[in-house]
Symmetry: C2
Subunit: 103 residues, 2 copies
């Protein structure tokens, strides 16, 4: 399993707007080979921002990388530039391999 | 759903030792009310460390908080101090609520 995360520092007061962008996006992830699950995660706030993380689980790193080169990826990110005013910092991408699993 | 993450900067060369600590720990998480799933995640390396994240999914934040006050939690973390030489920095805890889910 491969975990693809992006961390965003969202300006205070823009949290609901940020969430709405993700909820209204037609990502078509469900149709992408190797896609397992997606969560938009809202984390702690401090004096200047609220931490968010997008969190996507893939069957393999290769599946994730194939998606980043696809038309579906380009379509899903086409309007990303319109949302920059909401971020203080990010997105910062981090990819992780699961090395131990309990379920 | 509540995601509890801890991020660790593990010194280069200590990655396998760090993974072994987690694999050999008898966490008894499976028996804890509200526990859903655990993954130890190995992320990118730079010149000084490899990023790891422990990643536990709970039915609710209240379930997670109840676990942190339990004997099972104290038992699972009893020997944490023995492993400090492996870390450059961390653990840094971050708790997240899922605000959007695709599966």
């Amino acid at each position: 399993m491969f975990f693809a995360m992006n961390r965003f520092q969202v300006r205070l007061g823009h949290e609901e707007e940020f969430e709405e962008v993700w909820k209204s996006r037609d990502s078509r992830l469900k149709d992408v080979p190797g896609f397992v699950e997606f969560n938009l995660l809202r984390g702690p706030s401090n004096d200047t921002y609220t931490l968010f993380a997008s969190h996507t689980l893939w069957a393999s790193r290769a599946d994730f990388e194939a998606w980043t080169k696809s038309q579906a990826f380009r379509d899903a990110h086409r309007s990303a530039g319109e949302h920059r005013h909401m971020y203080l910092d990010g997105p910062h991408f981090e990819g992780f391999d699961s090395v131990h699993h309990i379920k």
